[in-house]
């Protein structure tokens, strides 16, 4: 069974030989593993895992594509005006979330006069021919190929900042709707350009962190009103073209799982355990309508306690596999606290407990 067949059968809740697999790693994790015996890079770690997925592209359209001006720097960080017009401080040679210092699009007037026209006028910002080549490569390897991109809520936060966007959700909801709509238009236009190159992906993997460890950032009602219509539009676009849809968000989203189903999302990833998400609870209630992808707790991985990790994988796989709609992924990115020996054991547990 190829990876593509395996993932498609997962979506159809049909028998598979084993659960599909994918994972993500912090760069520091790969560096540690290389010191401990990993031959190669993250792609080799994924190959050893037996990953079934092949990304084709990453779409996060910016209003000022290509702009990147270093404003200041020190030994550890550099402060940059980026393609979104904002100023952010990034680590040099190290992973981590940047510190957003200011946002160029700080009022609706600036959005209307500058950012909106710039977004709409910006060229396609990915290499569509490369995406088509990756599609061919994925087909040859039997992988499940997918487009990847950012959805409206994440784009909104990047454009105007957390505080402004969350306040605007109350005080200027039409502005929020407009930004989400324009962003979605451009992402879908980008994906159309990939399809025009001859790629026929199996799915669409949408990224947008709309929650934190306590709850969604905004209420389910506000999400339904302001962002969800464009989530549904992305899902409808994909379904019309024969693709399945995976939605990625960190955080506690137990209050909006039904809205994900209603939007047409086929799968939810990575199901963050440390935010209280647990497929042993959600697979029985939502697993027939929403495939579950992930949920293996990186905090438990980081203990390097193999008994604890084995129990985590055994019990969550059992819950997920009962629906036939489950794929392995850590619940976030594997952190550098996890040794290479531990990760090799994790692969063996995934193999042992992930067989149907």
């Amino acid at each position: 069974m190829t990876g593509c067949e395996r993932v498609n059968r997962m979506f159809a809740r049909q028998d598979q030989d084993r659960v599909p697999r994918c994972d993500a790693y912090w760069p520091e994790t790969i560096a540690r593993w290389q010191r401990e015996g990993l031959q190669g890079d993250h792609n080799d770690a994924l190959r050893l895992l037996g990953a079934d997925f092949q990304p084709l592209c990453w779409s996060w359209p910016a209003p000022f594509h290509g702009q990147r001006t270093v404003l200041t720097q020190d030994a550890e960080t550099e402060t940059v005006r980026d393609a979104w017009g904002g100023v952010a401080r990034f680590w040099k040679g190290r992973s981590g979330t940047p510190e957003h210092i200011s946002f160029g699009c700080d009022t609706r007037e600036v959005w209307d006069k500058t950012y909106r026209p710039a977004m709409l006028a910006a060229p396609i910002q990915i290499d569509t021919r490369l995406a088509a080549l990756r599609f061919q490569d994925g087909r040859r390897l039997g992988k499940w190929t997918h487009l990847s991109g950012v959805e409206g809520f994440e784009a909104l936060r990047r454009l105007i900042g957390d505080e402004a966007c969350l306040i605007a959700m109350i005080e200027d909801p039409d502005w929020v709707r407009d930004i989400v709509r324009v962003h979605t238009d451009i992402v879908l236009r980008t994906f159309e350009a990939v399809l025009a190159e001859g790629a026929q992906p199996d799915g669409l993997w949408i990224y947008g962190d709309m929650a934190y460890n306590h709850a969604t950032m905004c209420s389910p009602a506000m999400y339904r009103d302001l962002v969800w219509p464009d989530h549904k539009r992305m899902a409808d676009w994909a379904h019309t073209r024969g693709m399945k849809v995976i939605y990625h968000t960190d955080g506690c989203v137990s209050g909006v799982l039904d809205l994900y189903v209603e939007a047409g999302f086929d799968c939810f990833q990575p199901i963050e355990a440390k935010a209280g998400m647990d497929i042993r609870k959600f697979a029985p209630t939502h697993g027939s309508r929403l495939a579950m992808f992930g949920n293996i707790d990186v905090m438990k991985m980081g203990t390097n306690d193999l008994d604890l990790i084995e129990e985590e994988i055994r019990t969550k796989f059992a819950a997920g596999m009962a629906t036939r709609g489950y794929a392995y992924h850590s619940d976030h990115s594997v952190p550098p606290q996890v040794s290479w020996a531990t990760y090799k054991a994790i692969i063996s547990f995934v193999e042992r407990y992930g067989r149907y």
């Binding site: 960080t77 981590g96 979330t97 109350i170 306590h214 440390k274 952190p335």
Partner: protein
């Protein structure tokens, strides 16, 4: 003359214009600035914290409430200073070394200010030495450490170790952030852990000996 309860309701609802207007009217009527803060504004933010904990409101509603309170405090701060009224407790807050994330820290800072704490925000990527220096300078009652990433949790542990080694007997250490748990707090010897911005007020009050 408006009542202090009207001010509480305006803050809790995030009505900035009403909050400012009622504060001005209370000042004009001779109500003491300390009373306006303690009996008008702080109870409003307490309502917000409780509703937030119960998922009855979410971050947007919390933000507009905190902003309303901030606008009122701009009017009151000169009067508080003139009257010699200072917050009873001081909190040092920052995101630990190696972590540039700040929204969680900012939300918690807003809620602590809303509860009447003086908050000294050290920003992001704060070294253990900087936390220690600030704790000593401000005679902090609480040092709050935030981390978003699993990769920066060791920096939190190191910060707690250095603060403990300095023997700050009257300073409590609180931690929080996406990957943080009570078990981790216990493991590294922190005095308190808060899962969210609403709970952070309760935990801070308990740590300084006030009822939550």
């Amino acid at each position: 003359m408006p009542l202090l309860t009207d001010l509480t309701a305006a803050v809790a609802a995030g009505k900035r214009t009403d909050t400012v207007r009622i504060t001005q009217e209370l000042i004009a009527a001779g109500t003491g600035p300390g009373i306006i803060v303690e009996q008008g504004l702080v109870p409003g933010m307490a309502i917000v914290g409780e509703q937030f904990k119960r998922n009855e409101i979410f971050v947007p509603e919390m933000l507009v409430a905190a902003r309303a309170m901030k606008e009122a405090l701009k009017l009151l701060e000169p009067l508080l200073a003139a009257a010699g009224i200072k917050p009873k407790y001081t909190v040092i807050v920052g995101t630990v070394q190696g972590d540039l994330h700040d929204i969680g820290k900012n939300l918690i800072s807003m809620m602590w200010r809303g509860a009447g704490f003086a908050v000294v925000d050290l920003g992001t990527n704060v070294s253990p030495e900087k936390y220690l220096a600030a704790a000593l300078e401000h005679k902090a009652h609480i040092v709050g450490l935030s981390a978003l990433l699993t990769t920066t949790m060791p920096a939190m542990k190191e910060t707690v170790r250095i603060l403990r080694a300095a023997g700050l007997t009257n300073t409590k250490i609180m931690i929080g952030g996406a990957p943080i748990t009570q078990a981790f707090a216990d493991d590294i010897g922190a005095d308190g852990y808060a899962a969210d911005a609403g709970t952070a007020v309760d935990v801070a009050k308990k740590l300084v000996g006030e009822t939550a």
